[in-house]
């Protein structure tokens, strides 16, 4: 089950590995995506830190990691096909990390809470 932060990133956890992407709402706001700058492999990042960057035809935006840990996989196919995220935001990951503090998940929103949050915007 996915959890969300207020910056519209989602995270899905399997074991100790957290998979991160951006929400459909975020993608709708950005429009056609043209470029991703991905985090560095093995980088230690902490919750809320800007670790990646996405550019669209009308805006540019930082991607903040919703959870702390060590980057262990980046989705390099986004470098050539950023539009994959337009086609399926919820199913396309941007990076994965080894979590360093699973308790952080509790502070994130669940699907319902995130839906209410988006409706309130």
């Amino acid at each position: 089950m996915k959890r969300y932060n207020e910056e519209h990133e989602w995270v899905e956890v399997e074991g100790n590995i957290a998979t991160v992407g951006i929400s459909t709402y975020a993608v709708e706001q950005l429009g056609d995506l043209t470029f991703f700058e991905l985090p560095e492999m093995d980088a230690e990042v902490s919750m809320g830190e800007s670790v990646a960057f996405v550019e669209s035809v009308k805006a540019a935006s930082d991607i903040y990691t919703p959870i702390s840990g060590e980057i262990c996989e980046i989705n390099e196919s986004l470098l050539d096909e950023p539009e994959m995220v337009n086609q399926d935001a919820q199913g396309t990951f941007i990076f994965k990390l080894k979590m360093s503090n699973a308790n952080e998940l509790d502070s994130l929103m669940n699907e319902d809470e995130y839906k209410k949050f988006v409706d309130s915007l």
Binding site: T34, F35, E37, E40, S50, E55, S56, A59, A60, D62
Partner: protein, 444 residues
């Protein structure tokens, strides 16, 4: 028609809407002691008197000396076509080309400009110009730090124009960036000292070739070591010299920057000029400033637009690549016209003329008793001489004889009491150079 667009009635209405008594209330938040009450200006003048007044001021300019001063600004030929074309109102008065549908002319010239800068530097991409050579170098340093991501150390070669170094230091000291200036030895990069400083903490090394003293050097070993440590080589170069020397991309530089005054602009007491930055394609998103792109419109016509704007501050806000959102269009347009008039052969001929004339002057000066040329073997169009006289004294006497004979290096560093930086361009004739040599002979 009054020149001020607001009538008293307009002003009254506006003040009423925001609930103020009078205009000075608008400034009530400025502390009293900081408010200005009246400025002491002389009475206005009519057109004729104004013209006369400015003519008198302009007549104080000295325009009849032969110039051997360079140090970043050079007395090069400016073909009349440059003034004639750049002076056209389509270029001269047009506003920044945000609206592509109304600015195709300006946008196309700037696109051609970028293409030419890429040709002379060998790089893949260029922006549409910066303010000047010094700010372009400082922006290049910030760019190197951005590209390196987590590194924040910049090495600065002391062979760079000292005024550029000051600008770079100003830029860097207000950010969390460490920098170290590495002294030169005998007017040349201290290669071993630079090599010893390169490690995994260095984001980039800034150098100039030919350097401020005119010395041409081989940076291959340094650039190789930089790349081994994933650090960037940032070269500041004299564009005219690229007509003769290997281009920055061929020597392995990652970022090329320069001042563009020498390409079709007068010396103008030091400005306006423009700066250029070009780099490899993979770094385009870290390039500051405007970039013009070529594309197709909905009817498939080839057109030109501002592109990659997500790097810029009006979109990327605080994470923009630079807070410079302007450029030097008109001066860059002049250089584009200049470069197209010269062509590749012209640029290379100009470089060769500068080099060979400087070689002649070096030769003649070294025949004088008491004069030594300190970097005679490997300089381009500029070189350092030393004489038994203090430079101020020598330069003053030569000025009285009709020459701006060079830059007094004592103004740069007090260790250089008797050293002068002499520069030669294609404009200098054999007669002028012979006259300078005999005048120096007379003074000494």
């Amino acid at each position: 028609m009054p020149y001020t667009p607001h009538t008293k009635k307009d002003v009254r209405e506006m003040l009423d809407v925001i609930g103020l008594e009078n205009e000075s209330d608008l400034f009530s938040s400025v502390p009293k002691e900081l408010q200005v009450h009246g400025i002491d200006l002389p009475e206005g003048l009519d057109e004729f008197s104004t013209f006369e007044k400015f003519k008198t001021i302009a007549a104080k300019n000295v325009t009849n000396k032969t110039i051997f001063m360079g140090g970043g600004y050079y007395d090069h030929v400016v073909p009349s076509a440059v003034d004639a074309l750049a002076g056209r109102s389509e270029f001269y008065t047009s506003y920044t080309p945000y609206q592509a549908e109304a600015s195709q002319g300006t946008l196309q010239v700037l696109y051609e400009y970028q293409s030419m800068i890429c040709e002379i530097s060998g790089m893949d991409v260029s922006n549409a110009s910066m303010y000047d050579g010094a700010s372009a170098l400082a922006e290049s340093a910030l760019m190197a730090v951005r590209i390196s991501r987590k590194r924040n150390k910049i090495l600065i070669d002391a062979g760079i124009n000292p005024t550029y170094i000051k600008v770079v230091q100003t830029y860097l000291s207000f950010r969390d960036i460490e920098f170290e200036v590495i002294d030169v030895k005998d007017y040349q990069t201290d290669r071993q000292a630079v090599l010893d400083k390169i490690d995994d903490t260095v984001a980039g090394y800034l150098f100039q070739n030919p350097n401020f003293f005119g010395t041409i050097d081989d940076f291959t070993a340094i650039i190789e070591k930089l790349h081994e440590h994933k650090a960037l080589a940032v070269i500041s170069a004299y564009p005219i010299s690229l007509g003769m020397l290997k281009d920055p991309a061929s020597v392995g530089a990652d970022i090329f920057c320069a001042d563009g005054q020498c390409l079709g602009n007068y010396m103008n007491f030091g400005g306006p000029s423009f700066g250029m930055i070009a780099t490899k394609e993979k770094y385009i998103r870290d390039l500051p400033g405007r970039i013009i792109g070529r594309t197709l419109d909905k009817d498939e016509n080839e057109i030109f637009v501002l592109t990659m704007q997500a790097r810029e501050q009006h979109i990327r806000r605080h994470r923009a690549t630079s807070n410079i959102c302007s450029n030097q269009n008109l001066v860059a347009v002049r250089s584009t016209i200049f470069m197209s008039l010269l062509g590749q052969d012209g640029l290379s001929e100009m470089a060769n003329l500068c080099f060979s004339k400087a070689s002649y002057l070096k030769e003649e000066l070294s025949k004088l008793e008491g004069v030594s040329v300190l970097n005679k073997e490997n300089s381009f169009n500029e070189f350092v001489i030393s004489t038994p006289l203090e430079s101020d004294d020598l330069l003053n006497q030569l000025r009285d004889k009709g020459f701006y004979a060079g830059i007094n290096l004592a103004n740069i560093d007090s260790q250089f009491k008797n050293e002068i930086l002499v520069s030669v361009t294609e404009k200098r004739t054999k007669e002028q150079m012979d006259a300078l040599v005999s005048s120096i002979g007379e003074v000494l």
